[in-house]
């Protein structure tokens, strides 16, 4: 039935583009400003005398000097040396839901009726955007069963931090803020479920997965729950794409002990219309609007972590919240028990506008279609990989279906050929696909990789992806050197980037590079 796809004779753009500072020619200008009105100059006088003593900059910043076409060309060359989702089969970056971001949405965010809105304008002049925020909140309430949402967190991680802040406020109000200082999470939950509560001052207990099922046992949870438990931060399905069928029992145990339960639903793509936070019994959750809700990832942001809570926690949400009084939308700041601000203003509203547009374009049936196709694509990919690609395995819950992604292992390949996941990853890109995501820590699955073939990839593209992995695996057995020395078709060849551990070796600015090299 499935066929091998002819692989591309691919080479990525290779511009050998200098660092922008090397392109500088003294005197060139990229853009000019309007002349200052004579009358303004005459009224104000000599600006050097106006600037307070010692505050006038003595040495101009050593920025490069380029004309406009050269600046544009430089950055366009860099853009060509970047494999965005729009131009490649971006299945490899699992846990990230690299889905198509509809182009019409970019017209909406570029519309001056959005792009030129100041966040402090009178509400009578922002009724349109407030309406979109309000309606999007209603959509997310329906999708999750939660009672209130805000969009202020600037990403999923900040939403987890905001939830951790509410968790602390809740226990503090109940006089248990000091005592309940532990949170529980799982090893396959995104690392921010450990790090954000820890940043908020909680101790972290991490449950390890059962060897068979891939998720923690009820007994493991029971053994750590106590009157010190503040809450459970959990992802389901976890990074492995395995749905934890005991999640409700876990939530009940934590509730019984007086803790709250917080769901990281960044990976929502397999859940729409199938299962909701409410039925599980979660108290708080967040969605990433730049993942399952189609807002583009933007070279790592800007993005939006939509934070949702049950009624009894809504008073703690970051301020302000959007309200509707039957005739007009408004921002409610009168929230004395709020945790305050998490980010300036109301968050990355551009992502809300796009996510709203996305839901409006597919509706309830479309959302369920998103999840069903993600699950179908993923299990189709898994079946083909496990039956046709040598050296690959999918640890845990063997023989069972998965949700929207799978964490595979190249351990067998490594044992048999010496080629591990780093090398395979580098070689895959020679065939025109993005690097893949290996794993969040801890690296429980050896030689891991985590693809996620969401609903926006065609069967042909999934087949092509399978053929690429098949080919690379075959090369590992027959011609490992070509894999080991990959990439061969990327903008640069292999470069020793073994993680540096000594801060003395860090070079994050051109001036430091020049200094270390003794260059002028």
């Amino acid at each position: 039935m499935s066929k091998d796809v002819k692989l591309r004779n691919f080479h990525q753009a290779k511009w050998d583009e200098p660092i922008i500072f090397e392109l500088s020619t003294p005197g060139q200008r990229g853009i000019l400003l309007p002349r200052i009105d004579n009358e303004v100059v005459n009224t104000v006088g000599n600006i050097d005398e106006v600037i307070p003593k010692g505050m006038k900059r003595k040495n101009k910043p050593k920025l490069p000097e380029l004309a406009q076409p050269q600046v544009l060309r430089h950055f366009l060359r860099l853009s060509q040396e970047t494999l965005g989702q729009d131009i490649n089969i971006d299945i490899g970056l699992g846990t990230c839901t690299m889905k198509y971001s509809p182009k019409i949405h970019e017209q909406f965010v570029a519309n001056h009726k959005f792009s030129e809105l100041h966040p402090l304008q009178d509400e009578s002049t922002t009724q349109g955007i407030l309406e979109i925020m309000y309606k999007m909140e209603q959509f997310l309430k329906e999708l999750s069963g939660m009672d209130a949402f805000v969009f202020q967190p600037g990403g999923g991680a900040q939403a987890v931090f905001s939830n951790a802040s509410i968790l602390k406020a809740y226990h503090t109000d109940r006089g248990e803020g000091e005592k309940r200082n532990e949170i529980i999470t799982t090893a396959f939950s995104h690392p921010v479920n450990s790090a954000a509560p820890h940043t908020k001052g909680f101790k972290v207990i991490t449950l390890m997965p059962d060897k068979e099922t891939g998720y923690p046992s009820i007994e493991a949870l029971k053994s750590v729950v106590s009157d010190r438990t503040a809450g459970l931060f959990i992802t389901n399905p976890e990074d492995t794409g395995i749905f934890n069928v005991n999640v409700k029992e876990m939530v009940d145990i934590v509730h019984e002990a007086g803790g709250l339960c917080i769901a990281d639903i960044a990976d929502a793509n397999g859940l729409f219309g199938i299962t909701r936070a409410k039925e599980v019994g979660y108290d708080m959750c967040h969605y990433n609007l730049h993942k399952a809700f189609s807002s583009p990832h933007g070279s790592m942001g800007p993005c939006c972590g939509a934070q949702g809570v049950k009624d009894f926690l809504a008073k703690y949400l970051p301020v302000p919240v959007v309200k509707y009084d039957g005739s007009k939308y408004y921002l409610d700041y009168d929230r004395p028990e709020s945790i305050g601000k998490i980010r300036k203003f109301y968050g990355v509203v551009a992502a809300v506008l796009r996510a709203y547009s996305w839901i409006m374009s597919i509706g309830a049936d479309g959302l369920k279609e998103v999840s069903e196709l993600s699950i179908l694509n993923n299990n189709y990919l898994m079946k083909r990989l496990l039956t046709e690609v040598r050296g690959i395995s999918a640890p845990y819950s063997e023989g069972n279906y998965r949700m929207e992604q799978v964490r595979y292992s190249w351990q067998k390949l490594k044992e048999e050929t010496g080629i591990g996941t780093n090398e395979v990853e580098r070689r895959c890109m020679d065939y025109g696909v993005q690097e893949y995501y290996q794993s969040h820590p801890p690296y429980l699955v050896p030689e891991p990789f985590t693809p996620e073939p969401n609903e926006t990839y065609s069967k042909d593209e999934i087949d092509e992806y399978v053929s690429i992995l098949k080919k690379v695996s075959q090369e590992a057995y027959e011609n490992p050197e070509i894999v080991r020395t990959a990439p061969h078709n990327a903008p640069i060849s292999l470069i020793p980037t073994d993680p540096i551990t000594n801060p003395e070796d860090l070079i994050v600015s051109w001036r430091v590079y020049k200094r270390k090299k003794g260059l002028k």
């Binding site: 309007p34 600006i47 019409i104 001056h112 987890v160 926006t456």
Partner: protein, 463 residues
């Protein structure tokens, strides 16, 4: 639950029934539900999501969304004097051209090879910022300037082991709120200001600083618009007590005003929305953090560093480095948490700074400096209007006080709105001691005629 038949969704290639069937056949299943039937019944959603009927065609969607957006009135339509943390600067066309490129817009966390161009652009962002603030180490951009301040001040705790922060009582109230939540284990003390100038009260600073002070913080220019002139003394007082000196500096001022490091800052931070980002109702915010090239600072950054590597061919590559600091490297053992921030705005700021160059940044600062002084001069002549802190010099923002009129800021702003003007941010709730005051903002986009018009309209309103 009956699903509508035969909808083929343009964003979902496999929504064609024959393709689904082909894939299901490969898996040996009859319907997709078999793939998730193991999810317990009690967790399954009953019935259909209650959402509006979709607008399946792009034509209908466009009409619908643009219809809602048309209810907004933008700063292209009305004259705006709003600032207070989000600014209407000119966005060069090349900035939009680059950040709307599919390759950058839809890339994510790809690394050294496939996203070489993105990595280089990020390295150039940190390199360009490092010249602007004159410090060697800059991390990838943070969520916003507020987060940059929060992290910078938390770093002072980690470096000094102390738990007290001294911050100006004139500081941005939104950022102060972020800080109170982010550093809730620290004691945050407000330092008074001189009521005539707004400048930090150095005697009060000396009274409040102690051997428990981790960091002393100022904003320059301050949230209320004046240039803080005593940076060097403040830094000295901080250092004498073993505390670190953190300065939030507006990048649009740094072509003409001194970089904080020259007056003693150990960490410089701030918001880069002014460097090529549209306001987007607050979507354009993004933060920067910079420090000296010193391991004790470097190892306390929670954000990604894209370090430069070189191979034997002389090619440069870039890779995330010292990852043990970050939660992607070591979960809760990281110095703080980390997630996806604002990479596209970092790239945009790199484009902006490359276009502007040293002369452009100087002229930007000069332009705003002139406009600010002009506005203060012209508006202070309006009857019923007082400019507060007029003994200090303003950059970009300034306070108009209306206590001498019989109107509140709210009333005045309503009347301005009726005349097509967004008045300044009402300060009367957050800074009660300033009476009926508003924070006004001018940038290089504000014309002399705009300021004259404002003066004229205010004269009529306050008549």
């Amino acid at each position: 639950m009956e699903k509508k038949k035969n909808i083929v969704y343009p964003y979902m290639p496999n929504s064609v029934e024959s393709i689904k069937k082909e894939m299901m056949d490969e898996l040996g299943i009859k319907n997709i539900e078999e793939l998730y039937s193991y999810i317990p019944e009690k967790l399954r959603m009953k019935g259909k999501l209650n959402l509006p009927e979709p607008l399946l065609s792009e034509i209908e969607l466009k009409e619908h969304v643009e219809g809602i957006l048309s209810k907004n009135i933008s700063c292209n339509e009305y004259l705006s004097f709003l600032g207070a943390g989000c600014y209407r600067h000119y966005v060069p066309a090349v900035c939009d051209e680059v950040n709307r490129r599919s390759e950058f817009l839809t890339a994510y966390c790809g690394g050294t090879y496939t996203d070489h161009g993105k990595c280089q652009a990020i390295f150039e962002f940190t390199s360009l910022m490092s010249e602007l603030v004159d410090m060697d180490v800059v991390s990838l951009a943070t969520y916003d300037g507020g987060q940059a301040t929060c992290t910078s001040l938390r770093m002072t705790h980690r470096i000094t082991g102390r738990k007290e922060l001294l911050v100006p009582s004139t500081m941005n109230p939104e950022i102060l709120s972020q800080l109170r939540n982010y550093c809730d284990f620290m004691t945050i003390t407000l330092v008074d200001y001189d009521p005539k100038t707004g400048q930090m009260d150095l005697d009060d600073l000396k009274r409040k600083i102690s051997e428990d002070t981790a960091g002393v913080f100022i904003e320059n220019p301050s949230y209320l618009g004046f240039i803080e002139e005593h940076g060097e003394e403040i830094g000295k007082i901080a250092h004498e007590h073993g505390a670190l000196f953190v300065v939030s500096a507006d990048p649009s001022s740094l072509g003409i005003l001194e970089a904080p490091v020259t007056y003693g800052a150990d960490i410089t931070c701030g918001d880069i929305q002014c460097l090529g980002m549209h306001m987007g109702y607050g979507s354009g915010q993004s933060g920067y953090i910079a420090s000296k090239d010193d391991p004790k600072f470097i190892m306390n950054f929670p954000n990604h560093f894209y370090s430069l590597y070189e191979n034997e061919k002389g090619e440069f590559g870039f890779s995330r480095s010292l990852n043990q600091r970050t939660s992607y490297g070591s979960r809760e053992k990281a110095v703080e948490y980390l997630g996806t921030n604002t990479g596209l705005w970092a790239i945009t700021a790199a484009v902006y700074l490359s276009l502007m160059g040293p002369e452009g940044m100087y002229e930007l600062g000069e332009n705003i400096m002139y406009k600010s002084q002009y506005a203060v001069k012209v508006l202070s002549k309006v009857k019923g209007v007082k400019v507060l802190f007029d003994k200090s010099t303003n950059f970009k923002e300034f306070i108009l006080n209306f206590d001498d009129s019989n109107k509140t800021v709210e009333e005045i702003n309503k009347e301005l709105l009726n005349r097509g003007i967004f008045g300044g941010k009402d300060l009367s709730k957050e800074f009660k001691q300033l009476g009926q005051s508003a924070l006004y903002c001018v940038t290089e986009l504000t014309k002399k005629s705009d300021i004259d018009r404002l003066a004229n309209e205010l004269s009529q309103i306050l008549k």
